[in-house]
Amino acid sequence: MIELSQVVKTYQAGLATPFTAVDRVTLSIPAARLTVLKGPSGSGKTTLLTLIGCMARPTSGRIHLHGLAGDALPHLAPAEALEITSLPERFLTAIRRRTFGFIFQQFNLVRGISVLENVLLPTYPTGEDHRAVEARAMARLESLGLARHLRSSVDRLSGGEAQRVAIARALINDPAVIIADEPTAHLDSRLSEDFMGLMSEFKDAGKTLLITSHDPIVYDSSLADLVVEMRDGRVVSGT
């Protein structure tokens, strides 16, 4: 479970024009379930994702990971709760690498390199055996129907293919939590349904899924266990 307590994120704090993107959010995100954060643009969904995903620190408040960061920090007992907001940068990085898999709205694939290299990127700093991770990446790409694009540059992929590469990359380190930011924003309805189908598989595999979306295909899906609505940085329903 991921537990947020009175989390606030203010940009340009202390300057003349501070902006509070997330305002006193208290929320519990259940493990091995699909949680959807919905709301209009600027409601703070993406900012909240970056805070949960250890990509930024909240201005105030606490975030606890319950039994999710055991792989990332070997000294931690698997079920132990971990308060992440006060952790040093290198622990946050380890958690990002092991606990979370990110699927970005713009996919954020690195241009000019191959599909396979993109998927391998999160494994480079781990120092794992190259052949082992390559085999793992190829298997994952194959399962996503991208076997024939292994060596192709990502610049040549369609939107749906690029997203599947981003998914393969998010899964390469076998994270416990998959975070997807507006994953269907650039997909047509059929591809959006396909995406939800993949999420269903991951949910069945025991992954915790956290998705921001204002697409009804996502938040009205029967897969969604919890839908949290946000507006102006605050949670307005769904807690």
Binding site: M55, R96, Y124, T126
Partner: protein, 378 residues
């Protein structure tokens, strides 16, 4: 614990593939960088090689040369001084030298005419340097006319063209019998251009010089060590002309490196954000940028140094010929002896590779130390 070697290898692999992604930009960067290293390395190699040649040549030179001064100008020395100087304690030998400059109006160059008493030199014959042979388009057995002081031409047969190995000093040389030198220049009997002195113990040279000046107050003794010091002053790369040339080159290189390396594009900044969000530590990003900078700078350094080596030692520094090979129009063609000075290469390495690598790391460090979401949004 992460196997560090594999991590280094993975990041190096990615650095190489990153460089290939921006082929055009990186090739342009390496080309300019190589050019700068080439110019600096050529200068360093060339000057160093010249210094070495000069040292080797001066090893054969007399320990001291004595000139006579009249009104502050160099004037012929009476031969009567030879015996007087030879009698000074410590002097091993005194040789009166007869030489002068001959201006050839046809090809507009100065020749150095030197008298030799080598018995191998045939009467009315001369030996000439390679540069003279090239300029006059003559070879052994040909006859060449030289205009004397009175405007009358005298024909000399070329008995020998001096070997290429001595070209650095003999390019513009014409060797002839003393009587021919005197006839050509109307040089009076009983006088010589200067005196070459050999001493048994080089430590006694300053004392000998003092005694010569006491004996002949209008004389000017020039010690070999003074000539060497002059060479040092002119060619030393930490002083004289070289410091100005090298300083300008290094400064322009630093400006170039700073300009090229400090500007992280928006795409590069975003990539750093993506890598951090995927679990790369700041140190991983810095290692990546370090490898990228190192590959570029070391490639350019090695290419520049190798090209400079070929330029100086195989092509006789042809690009610097007009600037650095003396004042004559008879540029000597010679092959400098290849030599590498580890100290100079190290200094060159630190002057060129370090500024670039540092300039690459600073902006990457700034981008890598911010939160990944900020880097991605920027």
């Amino acid at each position: 614990m992460r196997p560090p070697l594999q991590r280094y290898r993975n990041i190096l692999d990615f650095a190489l593939s990153s460089l290939l992604r921006r082929k055009g930009r990186n090739l342009a960067l390496i080309s300019v960088y190589t050019l700068v290293v080439f110019v600096i390395a050529s200068l360093v190699f060339f000057v160093q090689a010249l210094k070495r040649e000069a040292h080797e040549l001066l090893a054969q030179a007399p320990d001291m040369v004595v000139q006579r001064m009249v009104a502050g100008r160099h004037d012929p020395v009476p031969l009567a001084q030879v015996e007087a100087i030879r009698s000074i304690r410590g002097v091993d030998g005194v040789q009166a030298r007869l030489w002068g400059y001959y201006y050839d109006p046809v090809f507009g160059g100065n020749l150095t005419v030197l008298a030799t008493e080598d018995p191998a030199l045939a009467p009315d014959a001369i030996w000439i340097g390679q540069g003279v042979a090239r300029s006059m388009r003559v070879r052994e057995g040909d006859l060449i006319p030289l205009r004397g002081y009175d405007g009358q031409s005298t024909l000399f047969s070329i008995q020998k063209v001096l070997p290429e190995s001595s070209e650095l000093v003999s390019s513009d040389l014409v060797l002839m019998a003393p009587k021919d030198v005197r006839a050509l220049f109307h040089f009076p009997e009983g006088l010589a251009t200067d005196l070459a002195i050999q001493a048994g113990n080089p430590r006694e040279l300053p004392t000998i010089a003092t005694k010569i000046v006491e004996l002949y107050p209008d004389s000017r003794p020039i010690l070999k060590s003074e000539i060497l010091r002059t060479y040092e002053a002119v060619f030393d790369w930490r002083g004289g002309l070289m410091v100005v040339v090298l300083g300008s080159a290094v400064l322009s290189f630093i400006i170039f490196a700073w300009d090229k390396a400090t500007g992280l594009s928006a795409e590069e900044r975003k990539e750093i954000g993506v890598l951090k969000s995927l679990g790369w530590e700041s140190s991983d990003v810095l290692l990546l940028k370090f490898w990228e900078g190192t590959v570029i700078s070391v490639t350019a350094f090695l290419s520049g140094v190798l090209l400079a080596y070929a330029h100086v030692f195989f092509f006789s520094a042809s690009l610097f010929e007009h600037a650095l090979k003396g004042w004559s129009v008879l540029f000597p063609r010679f092959r400098l002896i290849p030599a590498l000075d580890g100290y100079q290469l190290t200094v060159l390495f630190f002057l060129t590779v370090l500024p670039y690598t540092a300039a690459t790391l600073v902006p990457s460090w700034r981008a890598a130390t911010v939160d990944p979401d900020a880097a991605m949004r920027s």
